[in-house]
Structure formats: structure tokens, C-alpha cells
Subunit: 247 residues, 2 copies
């Protein structure tokens, strides 16, 4: 599997599905893992074959995650080499454990120096109390309390998404400009002058007491739009064409 630059596979958590019941779900988990740059899957006593045709089809291109998955008879064996384990759970447990949001849990996991894993229980029943107890912390995904049952692959996706996001180290929001550059203020000013000159010639600003406000409102429309240099050229052409005499 190709490594994602921000996600060295030795630091990435292993995903452990405990008694998964449905092959398609295992496939969809593989897909969600691959989406998030996670490659290591362990299965504890799966009911169906994780490399059957249904699982492969549902993995939608992530077959290699399924092919490299390891099967264990018990959870104890599946976590034997791990040093930090998170357990996802929808239910309250009568035990003393930190219960973390996905974001906090991933912070703890990323801060841990060692080999980590995230546990997910069977589709309907979740994890048993005896399974939860081995975890360092529980993870509770905040959801609509009236409808909190998540599909298995959806739970894996949320954890993987938080893990991947935390690795980016920055919010990737930006303004894209396509093939152009943001307009400079002088380009913007030149356009305003062009537009206002043509409007003045046509009496648009004829009421002296309203003139300043009308200009300001007009400028504000274009100032707010975050125009590119090529969009300014387009607008010049629009004004030029609009004022052209029709023969």
C-alpha cells in the first residue's frame, strides 16, 4: 500500500474489528480506512470470509487492505503487541475509564509513543464489557441521541477522518483562483473608475446628496467578491460592451 506522506504506517493505529458479522461491512471498512490512509486491519473471529467476493466488491478498490488483514481467534491475541488501545462504544459502561471525544482520543493516540489500535465491536451488539476493559480509553462519537447507531464503516470513517485531519497539522482552507491571480487593489480601482465614468456620463449619480452612498454601495459589491485579475478584465469588457452604441 502506498504510504501517505503525513501518515507513517508505523505510527498509524491498527483497526481491530471484533466479531464482525457482515462481509460487505468489512469491505466498506477497508474502503474507509484507505480513504484515511490507514492500512492495517485485524479481525477477531469474523463470521464471514473477509476476502470473499462481496467484501472485495464493497471495498471499492481497497482490496489490498482486506488481503493483508490478519485474523485472530481472540481479542487478547489481536491486541497482544499493542501498547495503547481505544475502544469505540455507543453505550455507557459501569467502569472507571476516560471517555473521550473522537478528537481528544486521536490526540491521545497520536501523543502515545508505541503501537496503537482502535477497537470496533460487532454490528448490533458492540463490544462486550470484558472487551472494553482492556482499552486505555473509550471513545464516544457525539451523535443524535435519538438515533445514535452508526454503521460499522461509518464509525471507522469518523475515527480515521479525525486521525487523518490531526496529521495534516493545519486547516487546508483557502481561496482558489483557478488559472488566475487575485486582483490587486489598483486593478480594482481602475475598474471602479471605468464603471463610474460611464455611469456619470449617463447621469446615474445625478442626485448629489446620494452620490457618495451610491458609489460606496457599488464599490462594496465588487470589493467583497474577492475578484481575480482575469475577472477584472471580464468586467471591463462587460462595461465597454454595455456602453457600445447599437448600430
Amino acid at each position: 500500500m502506498k504510504k501517505v506522506t503525513n501518515a507513517p504506517s508505523d505510527a498509524a493505529p491498527v483497526v481491530i474489528l471484533v466479531r464482525p458479522q457482515i462481509a460487505e461491512n468489512i469491505g466498506m471498512v477497508a474502503r474507509a480506512m484507505m480513504n484515511c490512509g490507514l492500512g492495517s486491519l485485524r479481525l477477531v473471529a469474523p463470521r464471514e470470509d473477509h476476502v470473499c467476493a462481496k467484501a472485495i466488491a464493497a471495498s471499492s478498490g481497497a482490496a489490498e487492505v482486506l488481503e493483508q488483514a490478519e485474523v485472530y481467534p481472540t481479542l487478547a491475541e489481536a491486541v497482544a503487541d499493542r501498547t495503547f488501545v481505544l475502544a469505540t462504544t455507543a453505550r455507557r459502561r459501569e467502569m472507571a475509564k476516560p471517555v473521550l471525544s473522537p478528537q481528544r482520543a486521536i490526540q491521545a493516540l497520536r501523543q502515545h509513543v508505541g503501537r496503537t489500535a482502535i477497537l470496533f465491536g460487532a454490528e448490533r451488539t458492540g463490544l462486550e464489557n470484558d472487551e472494553v476493559v482492556i482499552a486505555d480509553a473509550l471513545v464516544e462519537i457525539p451523535l443524535n441521541p435519538q438515533h445514535s447507531s452508526l454503521n460499522l464503516s461509518q464509525a471507522v470513517l469518523i475515527m480515521g477522518y479525525e486521525w487523518f485531519q490531526a496529521g495534516l497539522g493545519q486547516d487546508n482552507s483557502r481561496l482558489e483562483y483557478g488559472d488566475s491571480q487575485p486582483a490587486t487593489k489598483i486593478e480594482l480601482e481602475a475598474f471602479f473608475t471605468h464603471l463610474e465614468t460611464e455611469l456619470i456620463a449617463r447621469g446615474y449619480f445625478r442626485f448629489a446628496d446620494k452620490r457618495a452612498r451610491m458609489k460606496r454601495n457599488l464599490r462594496n459589491i465588487f470589493a467583497r467578491a474577492g475578484l481575480t485579475a482575469s475577472e477584472i478584465k471580464t468586467l471591463h469588457s462587460v462595461v465597454t460592451d454595455l456602453v457600445r452604441k447599437v448600430d
Copy 2:
């Protein structure tokens, strides 16, 4: 649909699926929406019937979202009453638009005073450029660049999850104590004294130069564990039982 307290439905975004191809996906979208407290679904020219048996089964208890969904022939009609629209996209577009992370996009959506929507394109093809252009901002979900194609319901879940989380207004992480309370320091100290007394009686601290470090290490083990009052009682019993003479 029952309202979630932190999510008044009039402020919640409408989810708009543009040309969805597969009934099961529409059902899974309804489930993911319900998970996140979102109730309003609009469909633009769906290929399959959104209330067919396959869709209802896939919705896993969120049939009411499907039954109340509105179908529109065109995207323009589906967004006509909206004042702020996000478009999710996996591809770069050659147009000047803000491209936001899911978190930033949801912040912008929650700050907007008006009627909002989030657009999701068809399964394989996504949104057309002519459709993207009507959006106020694009949303790019940060994912493994080698495998970034998300299932439709997974994309809806990520946006819904961010929306729901933002509404909580706080991280819900905590230490749960089951049916007990956190131990007080004096309870902890009493246990240390008990343990150390028994160990001293058995010569555990016999090397004077190591005594302070050994005590510190021992105390640290229990101090770090975040013990509850009832766990302290358990530990007292353990020590008491361990030192009992076997007849």
C-alpha cells in the same frame, strides 16, 4: 422527526443529493443524516425511487427522512429558497471560490443567518462545474490523496458529524467513574501507608539507598491510575488478603 435539542431544524442545513444513482445510497444517507440530527433531504432527478424497499432497508430506521424528502427536477429549483450553499467536491475546479475544510465550512454555515444547504454530487461523477458555480463555497474533505473517493453516505456523514459537533459547543470528553467517585488524596495516602507497612514488615525496602526511589515508583503506579474510592477499597482488600497467613 424528533428534534435534537442542540439542533433546531430551522437552522439545520438541507442535504441536497444531485442525481443520486443508487437507492441504497439514498437510504444510507438518510441514516447518516438522522445520526447527526439532520432531517431535511432534497433529491435532484434521482435515478431510483427513494422510498423503494431497498432504500428503506438501507436507511435502518430513518425511513421518515426518506418519506419526507422532496424531489426536484433541477438543482436551480432545489436551491431556490436557500441563501447559503456549500458544495462538496473531490476535484479542483478552475474557478475562483473559497475552498474550505469541513470544519471551516460548517463554521461559515452556522454563522450564516438564513436558509442553508449542502450539495452532494452523483456517486461516480460528482457535481458538474455548472452546478458547483451556484455554491457560496466549496468543501474539500481532507483524505488520502491516493484513495479519496468517498461513498456518498460517508461524505454526508462527515459533514453531518462536523455540523453536530459544532452544535455541542464543547468537547464532551470526561472521566467516567461508573457507580463510584474519584478517590480523595487522603484515601490514596491511607492505601499507600497500608501497602508500605506490609511491605516494610516483609523487608521489601531493606536497601536504604534505594528505599526512597522504590516508594516513589510504587506510589506513582497508583497515583497515575486515577483510582475511584471503591477501587481503593478493593486494593486494601487485596493487600489484606495477600498478607493473610495460609493455614
